[in-house]
Every structure is written in C-alpha cells, then in structure tokens.
C-alpha cells in the first residue's frame, strides 16, 4: 500500500458520514438524484454517483427522506425532500460535527487537561 492509498483510505473514512449530512441539508429544498450530485460537487462534496443513489434510497427507507415522482416534465424524476424526522437527525448530526471541530480545536491549542 503506497502512502497515496493510505491517504485516500483515510480521506474516504473521514468523508463518509459527511455525505449524509450534506444530502439532508441540501434536500431541505426538494431535488432529484443527479441534480443533488451536481449541487454537492459544486460545494466540494465529490460523491460517486453509485454511492449517492443507493444512499438516497436507504435514507428514504429510514424515513429521513420522503419522495414523490414528478411527472410534469418530459421524463419523470424521483424528487426527494428531507422529512421532519430527517431534519431532527440532521440537527443532531450538525451538533456532533461542531463538537468534533471544537474537540479538535481544544486538542490543537494544547489545553493542559
């Protein structure tokens, strides 16, 4: 395993959970799979399509997203939206993300605990 691979593995681990946070945040305003992928990419979340699409389904199964088919356009699209339960979970996840940031900051400052 080269050091590049090591770095890639660690970055992947670090980013894994943040995709859920980003998706729940972005889908507060309704969106469809590929649209969300582009939005996330624009904001620096480089998710693979084959990771994101199944993830959306899982979040829907868990009740964190709701969905409906939009048949108004020429081609029907499945539109997702963050559910009230999803918003609650998102708030908790964001708090935790802040807590991680704060913990890291206090570690860096070398607080003599």
């Amino acid at each position: 395993m080269t050091s590049d691979d090591v770095l890639r593995t660690h970055l992947q681990e670090l980013r894994r959970g943040t995709v859920v946070v980003a998706s729940l945040t972005a889908l507060k305003s309704p969106g469809y799979g590929y649209g969300l992928l582009q939005t996330l990419a624009r904001h620096g979340f480089n998710v693979d399509a084959n990771t994101l699409y199944p993830l959306l389904r899982r979040l829907e199964d868990q009740g964190l997203l709701t969905s409906e088919w939009n048949t108004e356009e020429s081609r029907p699209r499945k539109i997702y939206r963050t559910s009230p339960a999803g918003e609650k979970v998102l708030a908790l996840l964001l708090d935790d993300l802040d807590a991680v940031g704060a913990s890291l900051a206090s570690l860096t400052e070398g607080d003599p605990a």
């Binding site: 469809y32 590929y34 693979d48 399509a49 990771t51 699409y53 199944p54 993830l55 389904r57 081609r75």
Partner: protein, 326 residues
Amino acid sequence: MTTLTDRYVHATVRSVPEARRDEIARELRASIHDMVGDRLENGEDHVTAERAVLTELGNPDRLAIQYTDRPNHLIGPRFFVTYQRLVLRLLLWIPVPIGVLAGVVDLVDSGSASAIGEGIGAAVLVALHIAFWTTLTFAILERVDVDPGLPGWSVDNLPELPTGRDVSVADTCASVVMVVVMAAVLVGQHFRSWVEDGDGGNVPVLDPGAWQPWLLIVLGSLVLELFIQLAVLRDGRWTMATATANLVGGLLFAVPVVYLAAGEELLNAEFFSQIGANERSFDLTHLGVLIGVVLTIAWDVGAGYVKAWRSERLTSAPSSEPQAVR
C-alpha cells in the same frame, strides 16, 4: 432495440428484491438519462456519453449490493473471530483421529498397505467437510437477522500469564498413569494373556523370544519416562535437560521396538494363528507398529524440546512491569 442503458439497468435490478425492482429501475434509468444529457450538452456524442456514464456507475452487481444493503462479505467482523476459532479447533481435533481410525479399520479389514492411503484420504475428506459446513453455517448466520446467542467475551476469558509453572499436576498424573498401564500390559500379556492355546496354555501377544534383552530395555525406558515426568513436575516446566533425557528414553523405547518389528520378531506368530489372522496381517501389523512407534516417539521428543525452548525463552524475557520514570 436494446441499448446499453437497458442492459445496465437490467443487470442491476435482477438481483435486488422483486418488490422494489421496478422503482429502482425507473429511478436509475432517469438518473442515467440526466447524466447522459449533461454530457451531450458538453458536446459529446450519444454513444461516447452513454458508455462514459455507465463506466462511471461501475459494475452493476456492486451497485445492486448497495441498493439491497446486503453484506458484501462472506463472513463479517461480527462472526469472524468465533468462526476462525471454531474451524481451527475442529480441524485440529477431528480429522486426524478419524483418519487413524479409518486406517486401522481398513488394516483389520483388508490387511493391505492401502490402509495408510485410506486413513489420509478419510482425514482430508473430514477436514473438507468441516471447513465447508462451518463456513456455510456462518455465511447463513451473517445473512439472517437473528442473534444466535454465541457466548460473548469477558475479562474472565483472559489467558493466565506464563508463571514458569506451566506443567499441571493433572498432566503429570495422566502421563504417569499411561506409563504404568503400558508397563502393566507389557508384563501382563507375557504371563497372563487373554488368549489360550488348545491346552489352556498362555499365548503372549508379543514374541516370548523378544524378552531378553529387548523388552527389558523397553521396560527400562518406561521407568526412565516415569522419572522424567516427576522431574518436569518438580521443575514446573520442561528444561533442556529433561528434554534430552526424554530423547534418551524415546530412543531406548523406539530402537528395540523398531529393530524387532523390522525383523518381524516383535509379535507372537502363534498368537496370530490362534486368533485366526493370516500371515499377511502379521506382516502388516509389524509395519503398522513400526511406523506408529517412530511417529509417536518423534512427536514426543520434538514436543519435549519445543516446550523446553519455549519456557526458557519466557523465563529469560524481560519483565513487563512498568519501570519507574524519573
């Protein structure tokens, strides 16, 4: 006309649960269409764009696994440790005894040298069965959502640190009893065998001519073995000295037996004819005893040295007590 997209969607949804197949297909098709459309706007031609998008989505089997949330491994971390320990333990204890048993049964049955192959074959077959069925069981466990109630781990399971006394009284007793029983059988069969000739006379299992001096040497090796076991118990561990004494004892036992068995002077031919066994089984039993004794003694001598080497390494290892920091 079927397109690459049609084939890709089919390949993906064929292995997801049927109830959600249509919806996943519909959504996936829409997503692929969106992605291709984006590339068309950037001036790519349709064929290139479609290929690129499907390549980006990757192996459909992999995608299907993501959609179904099925475990992507045969046996996962939840069961792996238990699985590994169980398989190793079963493989360690079961195939060899069964192989030996099968070999002995075949030897008695056919009386031919094919018994060795028969025994090895049986052991390999049993090992394969153990590996296969245990793996299958755990692979199924991984896929059904039940708590099998396997024993968990607690601090009480921690192994003791080696204290230098790694020889238990129970081990010593077992060895001593074995030696005494062997000696008793050796002497007993000569004076009071369980087979009698036509006149009610005693028919020893071993050739009576072998007693002087060979079997007396064997008896002597058993006495030496007795002292070795007691010395090991006293020291609490095997040392290079006891291991070497064990080597001498092993040679004292093996050399006479091998010498006699090779010359077919170990077993009593009369005994064999009394129990109705033929010449061939007489030959083969000699061969079997010869191989068995060589293997057993080699194992025993080797084990003595390994234990001695291990305990000397442990006693010379630095203590793990934390040093005081100044």
